[in-house]
């Protein structure tokens, strides 16, 4: 039959064509990073996604920068600054000769424009930083910031400075809808191309104040499938990967030529118990501190880390209000709630919670309501179901029943605001300055309007007047040492109420190859991630691996990988096509050859 032959001919032609096209050798130095999350919005006023922040960190420079080792405030666009005696006014001197990537000069006017409009129009992402600050520019290289209240965050000013000659054209409404794709920036790289669902590309900025970076391009490739991302990393098709799945992490850390990292940035997950000060009421037992303490003693965080996180997490007792670990206090032994089921049972016995009807569940003192707590399980979380599984198991062992109620985030927000819950598991990712995170647990942050139950931050539903007082103190404390002391005291108080049980500090799992680029830095040092960190310092510091090393590995790896990739793809396709063709042809032949008459078969 002609069919199989024709198919083979087609296949051969295609093979020749593709091999001829081939993969051109890469002349530009391109860093490719794999990530499974797509860009949300590139508008720094309103975007919220993790990849968005990474692009802004590269595209826009800030007045002050953050050191990679410890988040120390270091010069950025401003080379120096001076504060007034009362600490309310800071004067920054910009570097000489600053230019935007399109060649326009970067002056104090851009800074003033950004900060003042951000304050006036209450830009969502800027508001908490600039709400009390007025900016002015006595001359082109000088910026004066005046704060109406003492602000310990100053002189740190790390909001993204926008080019007035582009953004100044937009009115208050338009500016929140602007897509931010003009490509004019002042960071080490500027955005060159965005293809949603596929990739986004940034190019080196010749006019970057710290000098043009060594690499020419950074490409972030979106992978819908994390296994495919890992495969691409091991094959050398990408140079680094973020949000590596737990199932591949171990295998990657044992692969030669690849470094796998558990990056901590202060993010944590907690088991939150209803403190009872909200609109609604929890199970009455939870109002008793003893019961909450018993629950705290019944949680084995290490097992959760080992089993649910496959060992990829770090324990923490107190809440982490900052990416900088120095803000987290140590909880002394006598105050700690260690995993101790016997102690938990003791506490419940002391409180008079006995199992009067022998069903294994304790009741309120005097034989009232059984201790059956409602556990809201976040359906969007990978880990919440596993955690709920363990927590309910342990609580059952100490005589408390748990009813799991699955909920999506939208509903959970409402439920927590209304106070109609007993427990849930959720997480936070703090900033570098602890203030925002600490502010969330003040008394006035508890939802108070039944019509609008989601306007709140205090999802512990706990009001502690002393905590609030300490908060106000640290908010204006300009001496860092003293401020740390105050914050530690606040967090120890918070811990003692046993409403927030920090389960673990979660880690960003990342991996990068060592054969093409070198110079990755962790932020903060030793424990932090190398990418998607607070100020993303790595990219500007990366350099190609020296040529001797490359030749030694047999310029094989990079080029070879791509060529292999091509061959593999084309070969696979050809094989598939030919096989399909042969199969189709064979079956057709086989069927049509059967020419026995119907009579013979009946």
């Amino acid at each position: 039959m002609a069919t199989p032959r024709l198919l083979v001919a087609i296949g051969a032609t295609l093979a020749i064509l593709t091999l001829a096209t081939g993969a051109a050798a890469q002349e530009r130095l391109i860093l490719t990073v794999g990530i499974p999350n797509d860009i949300g919005s590139l508008n720094p006023l309103v975007g919220v996604e993790v990849p968005d922040y990474e692009v802004w960190n590269l595209h826009y420079a800030t007045l002050t920068d953050k050191a990679a080792e410890d988040f120390e405030t270091i010069p950025g666009l401003a080379e120096s600054w001076e504060g007034s005696d009362d600490g309310l006014t800071w004067t920054y001197t910009l570097r000489e000769g600053l230019l935007w990537s399109d060649g326009e000069p970067l002056t104090a006017d851009d800074v003033v424009f950004t900060i003042n409009r951000a304050r006036e129009e209450a830009w969502l992402n800027y508001d908490s930083t600039v709400a009390n600050i007025t900016a002015s520019a006595p001359d082109e290289r000088t910026v004066v910031l005046e704060s109406s209240v003492p602000d310990p965050k100053l002189p740190t000013m790390d909001v993204y400075i926008l080019p007035e000659h582009i953004w100044g054209e937009l009115g208050p409404r338009e500016i929140t809808r602007y897509d931010g794709l003009d490509g004019v920036g002042s960071g080490p790289f500027t955005i060159a191309e965005l293809r949603r669902g596929e990739f986004w590309r940034l190019e080196a900025n010749e006019n970057y104040w710290a000098g043009r970076p060594a690499i020419d391009e950074v490409v972030f490739r979106l992978f819908n499938n994390t296994d495919a991302m890992v495969a691409a990393l091991t094959a050398g098709e990408i140079d680094a990967a973020h949000y590596v799945p737990e199932s591949s992490f171990e295998q990657l850390s044992e692969t030669e030529g690849i470094v796998a990292i558990e990056g901590q940035q202060g993010g944590f997950d907690e088991l939150a118990v209803n403190g009872g000060d909200g609109l609604g009421d929890p199970h009455p037992a939870l109002l008793d501190l003893r019961v909450r303490q018993a629950i705290a003693h019944a949680i084995d965080e290490q097992t959760i880390i080992d089993r649910v996180l496959e060992g990829l997490g770090a324990p923490s007792e107190a809440m982490s209000p900052s990416a900088n670990p120095e803000w987290i206090p140590e909880i002394p032994d006598e105050e700690r709630f260690d995993f101790d089921l016997d102690r938990a049972r003791e506490l419940l016995d002391e409180g008079g919670y006995e199992d009067t009807d022998g069903d294994g569940i304790r009741e309120m003192p005097g034989g009232g309501q059984p201790l059956d707590l409602v556990f809201a399980v976040r359906t969007e979380s990978q880990t919440a179901p596993g955690i709920a599984e363990f927590v309910s198991g342990w609580l059952q062992e100490i005589g408390i029943a748990v009813t799991q109620r699955p909920m999506n985030d939208t509903r959970l927000l409402e439920v927590v605001g209304r106070g109609d819950y007993d427990m849930f598991v959720w997480g936070w990712v703090p900033f570098v300055d602890p203030d925002p995170m600490l502010s969330y647990f003040k008394c006035d942050q508890i939802a108070s309007d039944p019509e609008d139950p989601t306007n709140y931050y205090n999802d512990a539903n706990l009001c502690d007047a002393e905590y609030d007082r300490l908060y106000e103190e640290q908010k204006v404390e300009l001496d860092e040492e003293r401020r740390i002391e105050i914050v530690h005291e606040m967090l120890r108080r918070f811990y003692s109420h046993a409403v927030y049980h920090v389960l673990y500090l979660d880690t960003d799992l990342q991996a990068y190859r060592t054969d093409r680029f070198t110079g990755w830095v962790r932020q903060p040092a030793d424990v932090g991630p190398v990418m998607f960190s607070n100020s993303s310092p790595s990219y500007a510091l990366l350099e190609p691996v020296s040529e001797e090393d490359e030749a030694a590995e047999g310029d094989g790896e990079a080029a070879g990988a791509t060529a292999d990739g091509d061959d593999g793809t084309s070969t696979g396709a050809i094989v598939a096509l030919v096989a399909l063709g042969l199969l189709a042809g064979a079956s057709l032949v086989w069927i049509l050859r059967r020419r026995r008459t119907v009579d013979e078969r009946d």
Binding site: L17, N224, R595, V598, R601
Partner: protein, 321 residues
């Protein structure tokens, strides 16, 4: 065919579509949610900002006003903005439509072709081992959860043998043009194979029984009496007539394969509308879900209409009526 009939059928389809649009609206309004709060968690919004955002999301006004606005917007193909990306839903859908069209189209075609082929063979060799084997095979694949079959194929051919990629639609390293196209085809082999195998069973079974029934018809006896060879009898008379119920099945099955694509695309991370549905479930991203539901329904309604019209056109008995 009777023009009035055609218009009648088209109107009926439009009516169904209208029903779906209304149903869509009320369904999602049942969910008492505050999407503004959810999206902007982590920022202290002032009441004015909230009001502004609520207006942007179209959540202000009475139910009737919201409904009227919804219908008007839907007519203009404005499905609102995604809660996740804040981009217009219709853009998202347009962007992700073609991978699903490619996958579902290929699978629908292949499952029909192969299924019909198997059905013909099985019917023609009724009672033989081939019949039992093929019928058994098709019933087995038809009884499997389609995505489970995908997991098996992934395990054997992608993870185990490494012949095919583990997911996605294209390797990042490929350039453009032909190379890219071939790579995409390479990535489509496993998901298409999954959907094809999972859905060819129905074609095989129906073709088989349809053909068996047709073979008993009188006009075949006449053809044989005329001395035509077996194969000719089968190919020129039996099969074409037996194909009739199957052609409508083709269009109707699009609905099933489209639904099946939701789970299968998830397994293979195939970036189409199915995966978009799965992703929209976290949240849930209600505007996205609404838009997708509408698109799926519209696709099936149109396919069914096509099947209906096609059947009327093909069936000689109906044509003269």
């Amino acid at each position: 065919m009777n023009r009035r009939r055609v218009i009648g059928k088209i109107l009926a389809s439009v009516g169904t579509l209208a029903f779906v649009v209304c149903f869509n609206f009320f369904l999602f309004r049942v969910v008492e949610s505050d999407p503004v709060g959810n999206l902007y968690r982590g920022r202290n919004l002032s009441p004015e900002q909230r009001e502004e955002l609520r207006r942007e999301f179209g959540l202000d006004g009475s139910q009737a006003e919201q409904f009227a606005r919804y219908v008007a917007q839907t007519a203009q193909l404005n499905f609102g903005r995604s809660y996740v990306t804040n981009e217009p839903v219709i853009d998202e859908i347009a962007r992700r439509a073609w991978p699903t069209v490619a996958l579902v189209g290929t699978s629908a075609l292949l499952s029909a072709l192969i299924g019909i082929l198997i059905g013909v063979v099985a019917a023609w060799r009724r009672g033989s081992k081939t019949d039992y084997a093929s019928t058994g095979f098709t019933m087995a694949t038809y009884s499997m959860p389609d995505f489970w079959l995908g997991m098996l194929l992934l395990l054997v051919f992608a993870v185990g043998l490494g012949w095919f990629p583990v997911g996605g639609i294209v390797d990042p390293a490929t350039g453009g043009g032909l190379e890219r196209l071939l790579d995409q085809a390479h990535h489509m082999v496993l998901p298409a194979a999954t959907l094809t195998l999972a859905y060819l069973g129905e074609y095989a079974l129906i073709m088989r029984s349809s053909l068996l029934e047709t073979m008993r018809e009188d006009y075949l006896l006449l053809a044989r009496a005329k001395g035509l060879r077996d194969v000719a009898v089968r190919n020129r008379h039996a099969v074409p007539n037996a194909l009739l119920p199957v052609t409508t099945l083709l269009a109707i099955n699009i609905g099933f394969i489209l639904s099946g694509a939701i789970a299968v695309e998830t397994i293979f991370s195939w970036p189409g509308l199915g995966l978009a549905t799965f992703e929209a479930l976290s949240g849930p991203d209600l505007p996205m879900l609404q838009g997708l539901f509408l698109v799926f329904s519209a696709a099936v309604i149109v396919a069914n209409l096509a099947a209906d019209l096609l059947y009327s056109y093909l069936d000689p008995r109906v044509r003269t009526a």
